[in-house]
């Protein structure tokens, strides 16, 4: 056990931000703190590294109270990467990383060969060896963050504390930083605790997730266990979006009022159509979707009115009738161009029905295939080649 908190209360002055924190961090664990802005993630991290004094309780590092440790001892076991941007004058990335050796050297002693090797290894470990000789101020945000990470590594700590290490980074560097952190925990046995905003990355990279909300630890455990849909929705108080644990991402909700647009979809053809319609403020109904269809997952997350059928079963007549009813009350219908097979014939019937009752039916399918499936009535479809044409046609129809 590297780090343990015992009834820890953190905050500023007399105002407590998070109370009663009891967590344990083991050697080589990658721990993330999740929670909305202002929930106190940074406050907890700052208290652990003694930038703030605890308002109550204790932090133990290797079973010693951190308040009793000297600055030097602390620096030899714990390194930090802060979220505030750093300006480093005319120091090179190499110089910055060399600063990490300070706790291990005397006041005026020169860098030893060992120091240099550690600096080089640290830079290589974060794939930043190529920028070592450049000025830190001239590096990109991603390179800067990797350099600061290398600096923390050069301190040879047992624990690295990172405050929002991915917030200024692009997708490539976000993933790279997370992978480096995971590699550190696996290969060097370093314990990492980081506050994060990307739930999707947290789920995929961390060993332990600690959720902070309204001044308390809401949950703590393996992200796969802890980050359930309701928990995430509660954590961030998201009213207009849902977290999908299978997809590991967030979907914006559909509008729930008024007659909508019926989307006949399947096998992933619906996902983009749903998102586009939601973006433009339409209410969505959709079906018939088997429960094991990716479109079903997304339709559920966007909270579209969904007619489902059981996984690995043929679509039931009941669900067909329900779908028909919903389709009847919708203003427009979209054929998302789903693949057709033995189990989803009712969806073809739905579309035929819509055409027969002279509804406006858009189609993303190519004409040839459409003729094969629908015969002469395929002429009644309003075809769109891409999503731009589709949404333009939907909007135009809505106006007349």
């Amino acid at each position: 056990m590297i780090l343990r908190t015992d009834k820890l209360t953190v905050g500023y002055g007399k105002r407590s931000v998070v109370s009663d924190i009891n967590v344990m961090l083991m050697k080589g664990q990658f721990v993330c703190l999740l929670g909305p802005n202002g929930s106190g993630k940074s406050t907890i991290l700052k208290t652990i590294v003694r930038m703030l004094s605890p308002l109550g309780g204790e932090v133990y590092l290797n079973d010693r109270k951190v308040v009793q440790m000297s600055n030097q001892e602390m620096a030899k076991t714990t390194a930090v990467v802060l979220t505030e941007p750093v300006s480093a004058g005319l120091l090179t990335a190499y110089d910055i990383v060399m600063l990490g050796r300070q706790p291990h050297s005397g006041l005026i002693s020169k860098a030893t060969i060992k120091d240099r090797e550690i600096v080089i290894d640290s830079l290589n470990m974060v794939n930043a060896g190529n920028v070592a000789q450049r000025y830190f101020s001239e590096l990109s945000d991603g390179e800067k963050q990797k350099t600061l990470l290398a600096r923390a590594l050069a301190q040879e700590p047992q624990l690295i504390v990172l405050d929002e290490p991915t917030s200024h980074l692009d997708a490539k560097h976000r993933i790279e930083v997370m992978l480096i952190l995971r590699q550190l925990t696996r290969e060097k046995g370093v314990t990492v605790i980081a506050s994060l905003h990307d739930i999707d990355l947290a789920v995929k990279a961390c060993d332990v997730a600690i959720l902070i909300k309204d001044g308390y630890v809401l949950a703590c455990g393996m992200p796969e266990d802890v980050l359930q849909e309701e928990m995430v929705t509660q954590l961030y108080g998201m009213g207009n979006a849902n977290f999908n644990r299978h997809l590991g991402g967030i979907e914006l909700k559909s509008k729930q009022t008024g007659a909508g647009i019926f989307v006949v979809a399947g096998a992933g053809t619906g996902s983009s159509v749903y998102r586009i319609l939601i973006k433009h403020g339409y209410t969505i109904t959709t079906g018939i979707l088997p429960e094991n269809d990716i479109d079903y997952q997304i339709a559920e997350s966007v909270e579209a009115a969904t007619i489902k059928s059981q996984a690995y079963e043929n679509m039931s007549h009941d669900s067909y009738l329900t779908a028909l009813k919903l389709l009847g009350s919708s203003r427009q219908v979209i054929d998302a161009g789903f693949p057709v097979g033995a189990t989803n014939q009712p969806n073809i019937e739905l579309l035929k029905n819509a055409l027969k009752s002279n509804k406006l039916v858009h189609s993303l399918r190519n004409r040839e295939q459409s003729e094969r499936l629908f015969g002469t009535s395929s002429n009644k479809f309003l075809y769109s080649h891409d999503f731009f044409e589709l949404i333009s046609a939907v909007k135009k129809a809505e106006q007349t």
Partner: protein
């Protein structure tokens, strides 16, 4: 591309070569201007005689010996030491406040000194004294500077944020300046003239005992400042990072403020507030070296400060001889464009 020991050695060796050449160049500059300051002056002294005096022999004319030994040599050394001290003081504060336009007097040292000097110069008239010796003035300036330093130090370890400390220093300075203005308003014009000249700084009339005091103070404080080079480097990343690397931030604040203010105070006591050296020289050194590493920047600032201050004093004496310019006039004329150039060029920060 991964990094290896060989490329790193090459990189470090190349850099080290640059550092040593810059330091060597600065040293040559210091020697050059020191010699020029001794050789040149309103009285033309043959070169042979000058060197005779410097190396302890008697010159052909008694007056020559006296001019060189009692006037030029102490003054040249005063300018040299003063420049070095101000440059180091400015450097420490720039890094400490993480602000490139900070100088040695930002914490109100010069205003404090000016106030006590004003008090002595302008108040002596009211007290019935007629002549004020330069030693009295030095003492007054020192007391004023140390008073302000005391105030700043008293709050240094208490305030949470170093910017607050900067504001307190600035405000203390304003109050002291206001008090000086108050005295000026009630003073005799003759004394006001002397006061105004004093506030513009000058190395003229530097005496050997003053050189000695300045030299001892400078050497001790500069040696001390060099011991702070490493934590100072950690400070470049900010207080929080420095703390995480084992720096005792409170004690460090105290030491930085003490050393930089003490350096500024002793120089101000003997030469008045000499502007711009402390602001411009650290930037000059930083750009010449191409690094913010204080382990080389401190020696480079010492040499650079000595060099540039010697040059400025030379110009102040010679430009409109026999009229002598206040040294702050030449330092500002050279320093201000230099600072603008460095900052606009965008390379240098802290």
């Amino acid at each position: 591309m991964a990094m290896n020991t060989v490329t790193t050695e090459v990189f470090l060796a190349r850099r080290w070569k640059r550092y040593t050449s810059v330091l060597l160049l600065f040293s040559v500059g210091v020697c050059l201007f020191l010699v020029l300051n001794i050789v040149l002056g309103s009285v033309t002294i043959p070169l042979g005689d000058t060197f005779k005096v410097i190396f302890g022999n008697t010159a052909s004319d008694e007056a020559y010996s006296s001019i060189i030994q009692d006037i030029r040599l102490p003054r040249a050394l005063g300018a040299l030491l003063g420049g070095a001290a101000l440059a180091v003081s400015g450097l420490l504060l720039q890094v400490f406040f993480r602000n490139p336009i900070v100088g040695p007097f930002v914490l109100g040292i010069s205003s404090g000194a000016s106030f006590t000097v004003a008090l002595v110069l302008l108040g002596s008239y009211l007290a019935g004294m007629t002549a004020v010796s330069s030693l009295t003035l030095s003492l007054a300036a020192l007391i004023g500077a140390l008073l302000v330093m005391g105030v700043v130090l008293a709050v240094a370890s208490k305030v949470r944020d170093i910017i607050t400390l900067l504001v307190i220093g600035l405000m203390t300075g304003y109050v002291a300046s206001a008090a000086s203005s108050f005295l000026v308003a009630f003073a005799q014009s003759e004394n006001v003239y002397r006061f105004v000249i004093w506030t513009m700084g000058s190395f003229s009339g530097f005496r050997w005992d003053e050189v000695l005091i300045l030299a001892i103070a400078c050497l001790v404080l500069m040696a001390f400042s060099y011991l702070l080079a490493k934590p100072l480097n950690a400070f470049i990343l900010g207080e929080d990072y420095a703390h995480s690397m084992g720096v005792n931030v409170k004690r460090f604040r105290y030491l930085i403020v003490f050393i930089s203010c003490a350096l500024a105070a002793v120089v101000t006591a003997f030469a008045g507030p000499v502007a711009f050296i402390g602001l411009a020289v650290p930037h000059f050194a930083r750009l010449s070296l191409g690094t913010s590493d204080n382990r080389v920047l401190i020696p480079a600032s010492i040499l650079g400060g000595a060099m540039i201050c010697s040059l400025c004093d030379l110009l102040a004496r010679m430009l409109f001889a026999p009229v002598e310019l206040p040294v702050s006039a030449t330092t500002a004329i050279f320093g201000a464009p230099m600072v603008i150039f460095f900052l606009v060029k965008g390379k240098t920060t802290i």
